[in-house]
Assembly symmetry: C2
Homo-oligomer: 426 residues x 2
Amino acid sequence: MGLVVQKYGGSSVADAEGIKRVARRIVDAKKAGHEVVVVVSAMGDTTDELIELAEQVSPLPAGREFDMLLTAGERISMALLAMAIKSLGHEAQSFTGSQAGVITDSVHNKARIIDVTPGRIRTALDEGNIAIVAGFQGVSQSSKDITTLGRGGSDTTAVALAAALKAEVCEIYTDVDGVFTADPRVVKKARKIDWIAYEDMLELASSGSKVLLDRCVEYARRYNIPIHVRSSFSGLPGTIVSNDNPHQPEGGEMEQAIISGVAHDTSEAKVTVVGVPDKPGEAARIFRAIADAEVNIDMVVQNVSAASTGLTDISFTLPKTEGQKAIDALDRVREGIGYESLRYDDAIGKISLVGAGMRSNPGVTATFFEALSEAGVNIELISTSEIRISVVTRADDVNAAVQAVHSAFGLDSETDEAVVYGGTGR
Amino acid sequence: MGLVVQKYGGSSVADAEGIKRVARRIVDAKKAGHEVVVVVSAMGDTTDELIELAEQVSPLPAGREFDMLLTAGERISMALLAMAIKSLGHEAQSFTGSQAGVITDSVHNKARIIDVTPGRIRTALDEGNIAIVAGFQGVSQSSKDITTLGRGGSDTTAVALAAALKAEVCEIYTDVDGVFTADPRVVKKARKIDWIAYEDMLELASSGSKVLLDRCVEYARRYNIPIHVRSSFSGLPGTIVSNDNPHQPEGGEMEQAIISGVAHDTSEAKVTVVGVPDKPGEAARIFRAIADAEVNIDMVVQNVSAASTGLTDISFTLPKTEGQKAIDALDRVREGIGYESLRYDDAIGKISLVGAGMRSNPGVTATFFEALSEAGVNIELISTSEIRISVVTRADDVNAAVQAVHSAFGLDSETDEAVVYGGTGR
């Protein structure tokens, strides 16, 4: 039995009952003979409450102090979890990110891990302890100040520790039973995926699947750490994210397209720059202005220029939260570029089909568009990669589109699977 | 202008408004030209809430994890305070006890400071920062684990930092205007004391005055750090605790008794061991049993033995919270000692008069007892030291006793001073 890293999110440790339930699960892994390292997030809404306090005392909380503040959250949950384990008769010690050797750059609020030196964790394990580590936090290599890792930080902590400690698996416990072929709240017949490759998981994550963030999957892929996404409530096996499919023998359907799932995302908006002179360098000036405003964009489409006017339209999608920044940035360069107008549309949705071997199987694309057409869904933008096709539609059409595509690719389960979100105690 | 250490308790930083008010006060000190180090407690009831959480997950929370948990409280308040100061346009950095160099022994939950190495604080000050330090916490020298200092820990942190940084004064901000000649909630005419010697403050603290704990006063006396106890609400000068009275010229009334104040305490109980054989070693066996149970006792009185029986009674006082432990310990040695019975009485109160030169002025003791007699207060136990007389009475008599003694020693102010407890905004 090897070393296992388990990560529990805030919803799994939202209250004393949750902490005790998680403690029993951890002890089970220890009893089964594993060395166990646990990464834990702050309890329930703690982080949001701390952010609200910060906003009350300061309009623009400073990075260093903001990180000092937020890291109090995991400190509370990890200490309580260690106590709960000890009260079950097992030895446990909690460690801050700094004590666990999570070394980061010094970019407060969204630091990146640059090294992991888990000497104290290794010692604690050697002495028979279960090690509890605060997720989401580290210590800056240069200033020795406390840092936080930003969104998805606790998952990344878990994968980084798993890599540094050569764990056999990194288990990410959450409030759903795993990764599904589509969001079960939208598609009743969505199936849990038993195994998915890192690349497909990355595409799902960047296409709207909320279960794992791309950052953590990228880290796991780089160090070849299998991730097991599973529910802290149900105890059922979840989804394995790895290089090698444990459920399928070698060989087999190597050349066949393997569809992993359908993701959707309604958090984006579409900006259209209307009447851009169709000459070299205009698009570059538009996207330089956007980049200088530090706005991340997703899909980009340029229409064919109308021969009569010599003008073209450029559309792109971006998170709604960045919309105002992008509009402001484009307004400032309007005269320089000489475009006609801007259109902002936040009533859009994106549907993505993800799977290996898609491009070499033209039938996949055809089936995808036929399904949308039969469901009466109009397509506004299209973008493709080696293992993904994404389209933008009206937000109102998203649910119908996801269901249609899910059925068309034979992803529907035989029966309606129980919807597994939330703390149902399953 | 020298270096000032300011300490703010939980009631001063109970919410965002409190934190902003404290931030303005700190900035005022900085603007006046001081180097400023601030020690801060956890916000309001945070510590109690964390303790309650711990009790929910574990019947007997372990020391190491309990300390890890509790230290989250100051982490939150110190980060918020630093943010609030920065939003006023001044530079501030927060530091944990460990970062501030507060080195302790490894007795979790009630660690003692063994060294202070404030290198990072000194650097932060040299760079023009206001340094915010978490009170109540340190790091164990041997295990590098986080420790907490127990009751009165934040005051002790402040005094220890003041000593290590050679501060000119340690200001303890609280919700009262200073140390009073008696509890203003009991004695309307109580006066604020402008200056009091360390020794007298120690006696007041151990006799029931809640404003400062003896531990912090003891530390200040050892390193000769003046303490200024004052209100974070009113801004008025408070009470100076030091060796040298700044308000009184040298010489003067050197041989006269100088009464500092009247303290009272209703948190104790009285245990009487009835019918103890009056022979050498019996008292020792009683108090060895008490000590082995780790019960701290306060006053001890042994009655004169009745010649006819050869039996005597021994009474002592102790915190009510320790009562059951003491009774259990004495029950276990009953046969060995052969006493007749135990009496436990928790309806008692203690009144203490504190002041220099008391023993060499017999009139003081006489006036004290006359005042109690005229107020119709019956005395049950008496104990005296060089600078203190304490008596035990019925709990119901305490208020009348305190007022009578306060008047008899001319401590009453000319007018009713405003009662200054609580956040009145004065």
